[in-house]
Amino acid sequence: MGTKTARRATMTVAEKIKELTRNHLKNDGVALGQCLTAVGWVGGTVPDMTEEEGLIELSMADVAAGGFAVGLALAGRRPIYIVRYQGFQQFNSIIPLSYAAKSNNIWDVSCPIFIRSIGMDGGIGPVASGSHHSIFTRMPGIKVFAPMTPGEYQRGWDRFMEDDTPYCASEHRRSFSIDYEMPNRIHPQADITLYPISSTRLNALEAAATLESEGIVCNIVHLLWLKPFFVSETILSALSGSRHGGLVLDGDFENGVAKCLAYDIMQQSDKNVRVLALEERSAGFAPHLDNLPPTPQKICEYVRKLVQQTR
């Protein structure tokens, strides 16, 4: 059973990332990316350090830089490769996926690169909006997690440092100011279990509060690890106690990793698990043409309809 209240941590996610990065650079690690040392130091996540100290400014060569980062990983420097917008990672991910993800498998050579890729909800058009972690999850050999709290970030980082494979941290701008932990919320008898990913976790919490006031009880099981995805006892027990099944929520397109996770959960249960995520269309710049991760309102509408249909 999860605790009801969010536990406070001592620092925000942004501060946590900055602290981990600073310590890493002091221990022979490197961090690299574009325009790191200007415009807010990537949301306050990058320490004020120099290239001599391991903070490497890149040119705009988005594909080549991914290769450069892979080379740093082969050299044992455990690079933190910072991708300012997940939409751009279509270019940045090419060589990490073609090489680093396969390195252990083909050559038995470890290539531990830590990709920090930052998602946004919307308001910035068809490229930079949204999360795009599914680009990474489709490739064997890389681990992907979507941390939203300082504790989750620390745990993911610790795992990376003990591991010899590439990791992608699918970050989200909305997490940077979060200074608390988000435990699961599980009721003995619920109407539905929400399985939110990344920023949709905040929306799910809001939606659940609204629905609860209407008498619809929602479990919330936060999904941190997207790959490898382990269908835990918590995931299954919450689902088995839910009358109307489950709903995976994501800020990436609905035909991405969200459907894979829903499938994996369904394989181990007799309940339906549905998906609500970015619609299958390009976002536009005009607010009415945006393509946002499921908002609290949208989640509420979806759940109400589901509950009514299957009641």
Binding site: F68, Y99, V109
Partner: protein, 297 residues
């Protein structure tokens, strides 16, 4: 521009030490005779994966191995010669090509993705040109002199060009070598582009030369350029067989092996060279003896 004599400097071979000439010649023979055996094994259908033979191009890696020792090595698909010239275990390469678990990449690499931690040679992922930015990151991160070999087509990859800029800005200690056989599979360079890699590299402020695959010239230029890395060499060479497999469309544009032998004879080293040829033939025959049916050790 492209020719068997491009960039040749008079009197170079005479200035080269006897040891270097013979070491280089020995490596050329080793790669070449090894590749003939691979060809034979492929023709006998013992090899079930695509193979990329270095035949005709082996003077490049042989000269590099003499003049640029102990680098970290990043090559691409056509790399048997690179592996062998730098001292990669030939038995492990043979086994790799025969799909055995004792292969240098346990059967995962085939012909195109071989590697060897013992000689700091990293495998290639099959995406032409990725080895170039990766080599730069490695050189920068490890502070290690690094060799990045590409083909004339791979050099055209957008990320290779951008990476040269990165190498220049970051002063990564990489020697870039473009083995320019004028072909992307079967498409000639003039069909694909109207510019030259050495000029592009110069524009990125790398020291760059455009030369033919005469091994003495390569050794000479390598020694000069490697004093101040990063630097770039575009080397004209003539592939003797098809892009993949063992087929052949007639004699190559030039036969560097014969040219090398003529030069070695002019240097008064004909007897030594003949001994090396015979010894190497024997070694390679022995290496493949149990694997090629009907072969006499």
């Amino acid at each position: 521009m492209r020719s068997k004599d491009y960039g040749l400097l008079p009197g170079l071979t005479a200035k080269c030490s006897r040891e270097d000439t013979l070491a280089m010649f020995s490596k050329v023979c080793f790669s070449r005779f090894f590749e003939f055996k691979v060809k034979e094994a492929a023709e006998k259908k013992l090899i079930k994966c695509p193979i990329y033979l270095s035949l005709g191009q082996e003077s490049i890696s042989s000269a590099l191995a003499v003049a640029f020792p102990n680098p970290a090595i990043f090559g691409q698909h056509r790399c048997h010669d690179l592996y062998l010239a730098y001292g990669g275990d030939p038995t492990a390469l043979r086994d790799e090509l025969l799909h055995r678990p004792t292969g240098c990449t346990s059967g995962m690499g085939g012909s195109a993705s071989i590697h060897s931690p013992a000689i700091k040679m990293f495998g290639h992922d099959g995406f032409m040109g990725t080895q170039v930015p990766i080599a730069i990151g490695y050189a920068f991160g490890a502070g290690q002199r690094t060799l990045a070999v590409m083909g004339d087509a791979s050099a055209e990859e957008d990320y290779v060009l951008a990476a040269l800029g990165l190498a220049s800005t970051k002063k990564a200690p990489v020697l870039f070598v473009c083995a320019d056989n004028n072909l992307s599979i079967l498409t000639e360079k003039k069909v694909r582009r109207n510019w030259h890699m050495a000029e592009v590299a110069s524009a990125f402020k790398l020291r760059a030369v455009e030369i033919t695959d005469d091994p003495w010239l390569i050794m000479h230029q390598t020694r000069i350029l490697s004093q101040e890395l990063p630097a770039f060499m575009n080397i004209h060479t003539a592939r003797a067989v098809w892009h993949a497999g063992t087929g052949c469309d007639g004699p190559p544009e030039w036969d560097r092996f014969s040219l090398i032998k003529e030069e070695v004879a002019r240097l008064g080293l004909q007897r030594e060279a003949e001994d090396i040829e015979i010894e190497t033939q024997d070694k390679i025959s022995l290496l493949w003896a149990q694997k090629l049916p009907g072969e006499q050790p």
